[in-house]
């Protein structure tokens, strides 16, 4: 089963070899963090493009790395935003119930979808976010 996963086309075999924490990744983490703090978002919309276009990661691998990096980054954001008083807890709990279920589904999809489709979906998502953000501004 593991063997099958590792050698399936468009799956794990296309991953770059594991690399150590280098300056490029550190820079991407810091940039993602700064945007997270600036805009109150996770930072993935900036980290994924940097991981793909600058660091040369595959689209799937970049998404997984970005999602993992968001864990400490969001903790940093929560602590600095001084969440006492600002968080609407009931709303947060309701959103979380749905979001955790959705995340498991989305992650499952990420392991199966082909890289090209993933790139197109992510690109369209960025354009949609840009339009939403422009409208919001």
């Amino acid at each position: 089963m593991t063997d099958q996963l590792l050698h399936a086309p468009g799956s794990l075999a296309e991953r770059r070899p594991r690399r150590p924490l280098d300056l490029q990744l550190v820079a991407i983490g810091v940039v993602g963090g700064v945007f997270s703090g600036l805009l109150g978002v996770g930072g993935g919309v900036i980290m994924v493009p940097l991981l793909v276009l600058w660091a040369g990661y595959g689209q799937r691998e970049a998404h997984a790395l970005s999602l993992g990096a968001i864990i400490p980054i969001s903790i940093g954001g929560i602590l600095t935003f001084g969440f006492a008083g600002h968080v609407h807890w009931l709303d947060a709990v309701a959103l979380t119930v749905g979001a955790v279920a959705g995340a498991r589904f989305g992650a499952g999809l990420l392991t199966r979808i082909d890289e090209r489709t993933l790139k197109i979906v992510f690109g369209c998502f960025l354009v949609a976010v840009a339009i939403a953000m422009g409208a919001h501004a």
Binding site: V26, L53, L67, P72, S74, G77, H86, D91
Partner: protein, 126 residues
């Protein structure tokens, strides 16, 4: 009361969408949640951002654990550069206090549109 229940249900349903986007696209989902919380739910910008960050944390954990079980990505490496990113987040939050938010959003929106179009173009040409 029933209005509250309906709102919570709507939030949970919206959460399913942002969570799915998060797990698939490797983002937190804040870019979707913050506008929704301000425009549809009526929270202030600060409340929306803080609430969004609180939701992002468990969402990213759930997605990352699901990916780890399937052997995609390198969670250890991601957490290590994310910790440094957390320091950047603290700096960004402090910087946000001194910058006009509207200018920031416009610049960021233009940047995202350019990157998004480039990714789609690359994929279509591939």
């Amino acid at each position: 009361m029933s209005g509250d229940a309906a709102l919570l249900l709507a939030l949970a349903a919206f959460g399913v969408g942002t969570g799915a986007a998060s797990g698939l696209l490797g983002v937190g989902g804040g870019t979707l949640m913050v506008p929704f919380l301000t425009l549809a739910v009526g929270l202030s910008q600060h409340a929306a951002e803080a609430t969004s960050l609180v939701v992002i944390l468990p969402t990213a954990i759930a997605g990352s654990l699901a990916l780890r079980r399937r052997g995609v990505g390198d969670l250890g490496l991601a957490l290590r550069f994310g910790v440094l990113g957390a320091l950047g987040a603290a700096g960004g939050a402090l910087l946000a206090l001194g910058l006009p938010a509207t200018t920031l959003r416009v610049v960021f929106a233009v940047f995202l549109a350019m990157v998004g179009l480039r990714l789609v173009r690359d994929a279509v040409r591939a």
